[in-house]
């Protein structure tokens, strides 16, 4: 038995130089990541970005091709899953179907020979408000209840590090909200380190202290949710975390605090400190809800970017806000969110509008404009036609050389 006692508090997790290759593809490339003890850390990314693999590596269910994993300063790279002070809430819950809810929750405690396993299991079940079903089999519970049992089964062991693998994915919206709050309160009550893997950006932002956005086996950007949202560093983050309007252009002048970018026949400014690149070809952007709609051309004011005139090509009402698509000549279509302060939409389809936003809301990305793949960011590059294309490109390159 590796641990006879409960972890006193959360432990920090350190991944250094982790690479994981599967036959045929690389899931994680040279990943370095430190998660401080007691934090609620979310790993956010689209499916296939390597986030679940990262979690499985930490749990010990996969072995890294290279690199080291440290939990609380101790190297666990070579340890078996049952030797690690880590518990997982699996995406599928993986509750043992032949055991009762209570037996499921007490399982880990009994394996470690901890006294009063049943009592502690009941306590954990009370925490998730399911003590009244402790005698039932998992199959007799609803999806949400099973999820809470899975959570209790992991939390009851007081692991130094709790891993959550999209545990809320199968729940409906209302239950998910409720569970998000419960998870958050359990985390602050118990003081464990949580590593939460999800593709749901809203879930990551509402729950985590720190969010790392992962793409193609690398971490694109990491930080507090507000920071990531307000100041995305790459086009991937800008588009995966909420929506963004991006403008590729040329840096015209970089005087004082402002970076001025010439794009589509107009000039837009962003604060220098909010831009990653200050010269040459750059991409700047703004969030849709920061943009104001005007039905008449607004007066040019310092500190405001003004675009227009443009035409409203789509209006979709979504309760709290309305989303407008505005086609601006030379710049393509922009997305604008406008809160529904009055009854119904403010402008109607086909209307001519001007757009403006405060310069301080803009951001400049680190990407090279040429490398930005705008709409097709979810296109899987491993399907057969993509492979055929790659093969063809390789063949052509080979022929060119010959």
């Amino acid at each position: 038995m590796a641990q006879q006692a409960f972890a006193e508090s959360g432990a920090d997790l350190e991944l250094s130089g982790i690479t994981k290759r599967f036959p045929g593809f690389t899931a994680i490339e040279e990943l370095d990541l430190t998660i401080p003890a007691g934090s609620f850390f979310a790993l956010l990314g689209p499916s296939g970005c390597g986030k679940t693999t990262t979690l499985r590596l930490v749990a010990g269910l996969e072995e890294p091709t290279s690199g080291r994993i440290l939990i609380g300063g101790k190297d666990v790279t070579a340890s078996k899953p049952y030797q690690r002070p880590v518990n997982t809430v699996f995406q599928s819950y993986a509750l043992f179907p032949h055991m009762t809810v209570l037996e499921n929750v007490a399982f880990g405690l009994k394996r470690r020979g901890i006294r009063d396993a049943a009592g502690r299991a009941h306590e954990a079940l009370r925490l998730v408000e399911l003590d009244h079903v402790s005698g039932r089999k998992p199959a007799q519970l609803s999806g949400g209840q099973q999820q809470r049992v899975a959570l209790a089964r992991a939390v009851v062991n007081r692991p130094a590090l709790l891993l959550l693998d999209e545990p809320l994915g199968a729940l409906d919206l209302k239950l998910r909200r409720q569970m998000q709050l419960e998870l958050k309160s359990i985390q602050s009550d118990v003081g464990l380190t949580f590593l939460h893997v999800t593709h749901d950006q809203e879930e990551a932002m509402t729950m985590a202290d720190t969010v790392a956005v992962m793409n193609k086996g690398r971490i694109e950007q990491m930080g507090a949710p507000q920071e990531l949202y307000e100041l995305p560093a790459t086009a991937f983050v800008a588009n995966f975390l909420g929506q963004s309007n991006l403008f590729p252009g040329e840096a015209v002048s970089s005087s004082g605090d402002l970076l001025v970018v010439g794009t589509g026949g107009t000039r837009l400014s962003v604060p220098r400190e909010r831009a990653q690149r200050h010269s040459g070809e750059v991409v700047i952007g703004v969030r849709p809800e920061k943009i104001l709609l005007h039905s008449e051309e607004p007066d040019a004011v310092a500190g405001q970017n003004v675009l227009g005139p443009g035409r409203v090509v789509d209006v979709s009402f979504s309760g709290v806000s309305t989303q407008y698509q505005v086609a601006v000549p030379g710049l393509g279509t922009l997305v604008v969110f406008s809160q529904n302060l009055v009854y119904g939409s403010v402008v109607s389809l086909g209307a001519v509008v001007w757009l403006s936003w405060g310069v301080e809301h803009g951001f400049g990305l680190a990407d090279d404009p040429a490398s930005i793949e705008q709409p097709g960011r979810f296109v899987d590059d491993t399907d057969t036609s993509a492979i055929a294309l790659q093969q063809r490109a390789a063949l052509e390159a080979e022929l060119d050389e010959a």
Partner: protein, 306 residues
């Protein structure tokens, strides 16, 4: 799943819940089956029970019996063949245990370890079934040749002085249990394989995640989840093995000291023409198997398992 004969599946319980509409269609469809069972199971069973109470005929000639109510037939056969009954169940139990010990690892290899190689897996399952393509009488005779005094095994053991000059392999309890085990291994392996092949490995991962080492994970997760297969397999082995009369007969792997109930029934029916004794033995055998199997199934609680 054809081999999960005794496992209650979710589909079955759903079927029970289904409304019983059009019951006459079901009845018509069931009719041939019911008629068949009545004619070839119920009638012979009643006839067997009646025969078991027959009394010797007035002529006193061999094979001459009249209907009667001779309870003493049962007392006689139990006192005469008690050791055969005990031996039958002992051999069947040993064969079931050995078959289980051999089959579980094999089924685990095929159903879990070879999952990533479907072709090898299919080949393995085919090899388990392959012996069925040859009559089991021939296979048992082949074993007799292999284990006989002139066969390679005896010769080798004699040469190594592991077997005394008067010792034999055939005709001993060892060879009979060996033959039973060998013949029933596919019946044990296939149901366990079916259980293990469907085993969700995420449960095994969860066991590891919850501090259970490989042994604990096997005992507490894998084994209980494959129990329906183990129960099916051991029933499919134990029931026919207890009534088997081929392996234990002296024509095959047995000798005079290894006779089982099946041999006694065969001898009484065919050679001694003591039909009431043979019938009484058959009924005793059936009753004991029913009781044992009933207790076993109730104790293993397969209904609770998926």
């Amino acid at each position: 799943m054809a081999f999960g004969a005794f496992a209650t599946t979710a589909a079955q319980s759903q079927a029970e819940d289904a409304p019983r509409r059009r019951s006459w269609v079901a009845l018509v469809l069931l009719l041939p089956g019911i008629a068949y069972l009545a004619l070839f199971f119920l009638v012979p069973l009643v006839s067997l029970v009646l025969t078991s109470f027959n009394a010797p005929g007035p002529s006193g000639a061999m094979g001459d019996y009249v209907p009667g109510f001779e309870w003493s037939n049962y007392v006689t056969v139990v006192s005469m063949y008690g050791e055969h009954i005990i031996r039958s169940f002992l051999y069947a139990l040993l064969a079931t245990a050995f078959a289980l010990l051999f089959s579980y690892p094999l089924a685990y290899l095929l159903g879990v370890r070879l999952r990533r190689f479907p072709l090898v897996q299919a080949l393995g399952v085919t090899l388990v079934i392959a012996p069925f393509f040859i009559s089991f009488l021939l296979r048992t005779l082949a074993w007799k040749a292999i284990l006989s005094d002139e066969g390679p095994v005896s010769t080798a053991l004699h040469a190594l002085s592991l077997l005394g000059s008067d010792d034999h392999i055939t005709g001993t309890p060892f060879s009979v249990v060996f033959g039973l085990t060998y013949n029933f291994i596919p019946f044990m392996t296939l149901p366990i394989y079916t259980s293990l092949e469907r085993l969700d490995l995420r449960y095994v991962e969860a066991g590891g995640d919850l501090y259970a080492g490989p042994v604990q994970t096997f005992l507490r997760v894998t084994l209980p989840l494959s129990l329906p297969g183990v129960v099916s397999g051991s029933l499919l082995t134990f029931i026919p093995a207890a009534g088997d009369y081929v392996n234990a007969s002296s024509t095959f792997l047995g000798g005079t000291g290894t006779q089982m109930v099946g041999n006694v029934i065969e001898a009484n029916f065919l050679s001694l023409q003591n039909y009431p004794a043979a019938a009484a033995m058959s009924i005793i055998l059936m009753a004991i198997i029913l009781v044992l199997v009933g207790v076993y199934v109730a104790r293993s609680g397969t209904k609770d398992l998926v």
